[in-house]
Amino acid sequence: MAALARSWATKPGIGLVASVFWIGLAALPLIGSVWESPSFDYYMFMGQSMLIYAISVLGLNLLIGFNGQISLGHSAFFAVGAYTAAILMNFGGIPYWATLPVAAVVCFGAGFLFGFPALKLEGHYLALATFTLAIAVPQLLKHKSIAGWTGGVGGLLLDKPDPPFGLPLTADQWLYYLCLAVAMVLFWIVFNMLRGRSGRAMMAIRDHAMAAGTMGIDTALYKTATFGISAGITGVAGALSAITIAYVAPDSFTLQLSISFLVGLVVGGIASLPGCMIGGAFIVLVQNSSQSISDWMKDTFSLRYDVPAWAIYGTLLLLLMFFLPNGIAGGLAAIRSRLGRKS
């Protein structure tokens, strides 16, 4: 995996490819001005969700893929980010864009604190502790002592922000650009971090913690800091989701949310940044098409009840672990290197 990261990160053309990719994404809303379709705003909303999931998967990938710490509890940090944004907007009257850095800081703190006990846990045990965290969080959010702030079971309803400076955009187009800008900044930060000294330290800890310690890397500090940064990134995604959906409720932050991050991570590719984008897009596509897949399966196999999206997620996870353990990004890289060798 380290080889994978090295190969793309140091390739000379990578900056150009990335720029073309981001410009392509930025051009997407312009289709709306040519092709007038009533469902276009909905496609923009899907685009926002894809970017938000991509950011969450980025956070998770930093922790799992590049630092080797397994977390099944990132839905908790996503929730903290979402609630931070919602509470600040609802009670503090703070503009929506200003809540993003606050969410990042709050979630960094939460992740850093959780990272301390996580230091002593490895592999299965860390997965277990974070699994418990993911299950406990919805119940915590519903508790009546904080219901005045969180809205209890009902959650909080927010206002969808309008485009600033009188830009000729619809609200959803503007939010798409907001998500895109945040995603670009975060991917850029992570990309640079991974290329540098701290990224190498993170990967060294993943590959052999003790050897990394012998080489003078402060493993405890790096592990907690990675946990914090990872949680912070996922928290920003949570804040973005609160802003774009304009609603937060405790039951959207269950273990299943963590599992969908994990699906995005595995589908896209462990320890791959482009994989995070693929994974984010994939989660939303499956969620959106799950109804039609379910209908198709009901007709074909004459089932009585709906097929939940989890059936698809679970089956995919298993198949990928067996046939494509490095995800789509890893598969593409393998194909490319095979083609390259032939020519």
């Binding site: 799992i64 080797g68 397994i70 099944l72 006990p117 002593k120 846990l121 592999g123 299965h124 045990y125 997965a127 277990l128 502790a129 699994f131 418990t132 965290l133 299950i135 406990a136 119940q139 915590l140 519903k142 508790h143 009546k144 003790m210 273990l255 599992i259 994990l262 595995v266 462990i270 089932l303 009585r304 009840y305 709906d306 097929v307 939940p308 999206a309 989890w310 059936a311 997620y313 679970g314 089956t315 995919l316 996870l317 298993l318 672990m321 067996f322 353990p325």
Partner: protein, 290 residues
């Protein structure tokens, strides 16, 4: 005082169920060093099978027995088909597989039997035995089933050749293999046992919490807590841990924090035990050689 006794009694009942779940986790942990996140959903699925049989008119105890058998063999099958090829895979791959199994079983149950809540019959009457409203036959029954199962397992592991072979395979796979133990099959057997025990837990808990595809999520977390408190590598400790967690959960829930925070209490227990005494109360500290 009466309230207190009632809380202890119902704590013992839920403790018995947590003990079953914990026992299943320990079975898999000692033989393969894995923590099975799908344990709860496998138990839930088995309980649905039992429900379907009872619904079709099969007598309770026949359905009970055959469900355990089916669960045993499907556990065996899961190990052979899915986990055996991944024996040398990194931890992440295994965790992903367990999460995949969890999602698949949850979805399958919903697909076949829908997500609506169902009533599950209990073999034990809901009468109260001592006539003072403190302890019901249902509660005694659940605890008794757990203890009987523990006794059977203890006898199996201590006095049968197969049990000895399983312990050998778990403790030192290489030596066991040299002695002619088929280690890989012992792991499969561990999975089968865990799955069967899980099915018992599911069938015991279903009359209390009602049957639905998500019924085991919270219980699994308590099972984890129980296994960790008692020591995840020790069956007897896991059962004791399950009971301890059950009673503590009830007392803390009714006297200190209220029922809404019970899962957070489990979280604190899991993290607390992992931090302060990772080997659990009855566990042995394992020193790893580098």
């Amino acid at each position: 005082m009466e309230f207190f006794v009632q809380q202890i009694a119902s704590g013992m009942t839920s403790g018995a169920i947590y003990a079953c779940v914990a026992l299943g986790l320990v079975m898999i942990y000692v033989s393969t060093d894995h923590i099975n996140f799908a344990q709860g959903e496998m138990a839930m699925f088995a309980t649905y099978l039992a429900w379907a049989m009872i619904d079709a008119g099969v007598p309770y105890w026949v359905a009970f027995g055959s469900t355990i058998l089916v669960a045993f063999f499907s556990g065996l099958l899961i190990q052979r088909v899915i986990l055996k090829p991944l024996e040398t895979a990194p931890v992440l791959a295994l965790v992903v597989c367990f999460i995949a199994l969890l999602s698949i079983f949850n979805a399958l149950a919903g697909m076949i039997w829908s997500f609506t809540i169902k009533q599950f019959p209990s073999p034990f009457p809901r009468i109260d035995i001592f006539g003072n409203g403190l302890v019901s036959a249902q509660q005694i029954g659940v605890v008794a089933v757990t203890l009987v199962m523990l006794a059977i397992l203890t006898v199996f592991f201590r006095y049968t050749t197969l049990g000895l072979a399983m312990r050998a395979a778990a403790q030192n796979a290489t030596s066991a293999r040299l002695m002619g133990v088929r280690v890989s099959w012992m792991l499969a057997l561990g999975w089968g046992l865990a799955s069967g025990i899980g099915a018992i837990a599911g069938m015991l808990v279903a009359p209390i919490v009602f049957l639905d595809p998500n019924m085991m999520t919270g219980i699994l977390v308590y099972g984890f807590a129980g296994a960790l408190v008692g020591g995840i590598a020790n069956p007897l400790g896991a059962v004791a841990g399950g009971f301890i967690v059950g009673v503590l959960e009830n007392l803390v829930g009714s006297y200190i924090i209220g029922n809404e925070l019970k899962l957070s209490f489990a979280l604190i227990m899991v993290v607390g035990v992992l931090l302060l005494k990772p080997a659990g109360i009855f566990g042995r500290v394992i020193v790893r050689r580098v």
